[in-house]
Amino acid sequence: MNSTMKKIVKSNEFFMFAIILVMFCIFGIINPAFFSVANLFDLSRSMVETGILALGVQVVMISGGIDLSFMAIAVFAMHTVSKYMGMYWNDAPFILLVLMGAVIGLVLGLFNSLFIAKFKLPPFIVTLGTTNIFKGLCLVFIGSRQINNIPASMIDFSKTNLISVQAEQGMANLHIGVLILVVLALLTSYMLNKTRLGRSIYCVGGSEASAQRVGLNTVAILAFCYAFLGAIAGMTGVMHASFQRMSNPFDMIGGELTVIAAVTIGGPRVGGGYGSTAGTMLGVLLLTMINNSLVMLKIPTFWQLAVTGMIIILGTIMQIYRYKRSLKNA
């Protein structure tokens, strides 16, 4: 019993949780509105997009790779689905639209896999290249204009709340997207921890050569990782347009690093083999909290970027310090 407690206290997730709790209290003391139901609901809604993307990114990072193209994939899926379904089948059910986004993303993810898993090219370079390919093809063939005529079910989705309560100023809404994030997080966690495929991803991330020797099909496993992230990104794209009630092909791109930073803070090390869904979600919560509180904390705009950067670096330093110390003790 005592040793389990010790293990939990020493774990990376517990440490993250403690940092978040401390920051949460500090933010709340500065502005009590931070503790309001409305703010908690808003924070959880802001976590949805980053959170879902982070689930995909962590799988790729656990496998020892990196993907920079997921935002471009998301935009490609978003704009394609918004445009054509908006034009030809405006009443399509939301679930179908999300699945279409996932399929488009899956195909683009497999395109990445082809170079990374099959031809063994460095994932950083490949996905940097495909980012531009996907972005360019989207602007040329799908269009560079903002689309307002998106399917009605997407707009309905943006208005669907799990809970809606009267707050001090207006309504406080817990968006249904939060439920989607929770379900996907549980599924991903199950996949990574309890299935043969999931454990194989950790093996490949730890040492690809050893994984191969013990008879794992590393090509198929890596291909799965990038395809998985592609599908996740495609879904998120469709959800993004729904949240914004329009599809703008210049959205999202540029936000890659926020997601990668969230995942990195949460545990998975660049280099692979480590990481847990719980840690990733805590990382996302931490970054969302920072990014979406600067107006509430009354921090002047010039300082906002600097503060975000400083907190990311501070968080990473503490993580690495703890990691090195744990190596010494072991």
């Binding site: 502005n31 509105a33 309001s36 409305a38 703010n39 808003d42 802001s46 602007l139 560079s144 204009r145 903002q146 307002n148 005529n149 208005k159 707050a167 001090e168 100023q169 207006g170 309504m171 809404n173 993004h240 949240f243 914004q244 009630r245 329009m246 703008n248 210049f250 959205d251 979406n292 509180s293 600067l294 107006v295 509430m296 009354k298 002047p300 705009t301 010039f302 906002q304």
Partner: protein, 350 residues
């Protein structure tokens, strides 16, 4: 080799004689009838105009092409629009440098970042190119900067409308694209100054909020502001997507009717929010008129003319411009509410 040299010399002689011959009538002209003499000079001015917007592919800047083409079909010359696909200062600088080497004799530019372009704009002017900017009243290395209106007047007009909707009391917030966007900050400053002078019961709630011209950011920051300042009753959004992002936050919080959102936008972006009441009104200006006026101004400068207060640049809102230093102001903003937003020149829907 010698033969070639001789031929070259001969050619130069012939050409220089031709040049002298061509000059002769012009020299004689002043002695003759003056108006007649001006006519041939005017025909000789053939403008090759390159127009560089902040980015291409958006309706806002597509209209500049429309205005330019309109002017060209009436006056001759060429008008060619070229620019970056994202509002990126470095990419825009490349486009500007390309335009200089391609031999344009007029460059129109809407800078993403004026400072980044100053050196290249100076190079262009040294090469004898006429450089006109838009949305950059602080630009130094330009012949003129053309503005649709005086920023102070535009900012004040927003404050008048906002004050009227807020009953002249309560807190308000202002969203700008970025605090480096000179025009946005100029509007905001003028609005605040006007409020301080005329509406003592109103108060700017917080520093200008930066949206980065991103819908999601405008939305999230508005939500934060609504929670932090419960007395917030009005929002002015400066960039095109700011009123839409703010309106989405207001609508989701169920505060339509309690918080007034106004600002610069186009009907395609905020049309649905005008219908729902989340946005009260928006203003814009037709960049095709601005582009037309810029072409006309270029022509006047190319012909050695002068632009002064009262000059007519031939486009709606520019019939009698105000010149202040290097800046030419029109009076060309357009206001739209739920009643007339379908007349918006940028409208593509329905």
């Amino acid at each position: 080799m010698k033969k070639l040299l001789a031929m070259l010399l001969a050619l130069i002689m012939v050409l220089s004689m031709a040049a002298c011959g061509a000059k002769a009538p012009a020299e004689e002209a002043p002695e003759a009838d003056a108006p007649e003499a001006e006519a041939p000079v005017e025909e000789a001015v053939e403008l090759n105009i390159v127009s560089i917007p902040k980015l291409v592919g958006v309706a806002w800047f597509d209209r500049m092409d429309v205005g330019g083409q309109e002017w060209v079909s009436a006056n001759g010359g060429t008008f060619y629009q070229n620019g970056p696909s994202t509002a990126d200062a470095a990419l825009q600088l490349q486009t500007l440098q390309d335009a200089i080497t391609e031999g344009a004799n007029v460059i129109h530019v809407v800078p993403n970042s004026t400072e980044t372009l100053e050196v290249a704009m100076a190079e262009a002017r040294d090469a004898g190119i006429i450089v006109l900017s838009h949305e950059a009243p602080g630009a130094e290395n330009v012949d003129y900067d053309v503005e649709a209106f005086e920023n102070d007047a535009y900012g004040e007009h927003f404050m008048k409308i906002l004050a009227e909707q807020m009953g002249e009391e309560g807190e308000y917030a202002i969203i700008v694209g970025s605090v480096q966007a000179q025009t946005h900050v100029a509007w905001a400053d003028a609005a605040v100054a006007y409020q301080e002078a005329n509406y003592p019961n109103m108060k700017l709630a917080c520093d200008y909020i930066e949206s980065g011209e991103d819908h999601d950011t405008a939305y999230n920051k508005t939500k934060e502001a609504l929670k932090t300042y419960p007395n917030l009753k009005g929002i002015i959004g400066c960039s095109v997507i700011d009123p839409a992002g703010a309106a989405l936050a207001v609508e989701e919080a169920g505060l339509v009717g309690e918080v007034t959102v106004i600002g610069t936008s186009v009907s395609d972006v905020v049309g649905s929010y005008l219908e729902s009441g989340a946005v009260y009104m928006f203003s814009s200006w037709d960049t095709s008129a601005t582009s037309y006026a810029m072409c006309e101004a270029s022509k006047i400068l190319a012909e050695g003319g002068e632009i002064t207060t009262g000059t007519n640049l031939g486009a709606e809102g520019y019939e009698s411009v105000t010149v202040d230093g290097k800046v030419i102001y029109g009076a060309a903003w357009l206001d739209f509410t739920v009643d007339n937003y379908k007349d918006d020149p940028y409208r593509t829907a329905e």
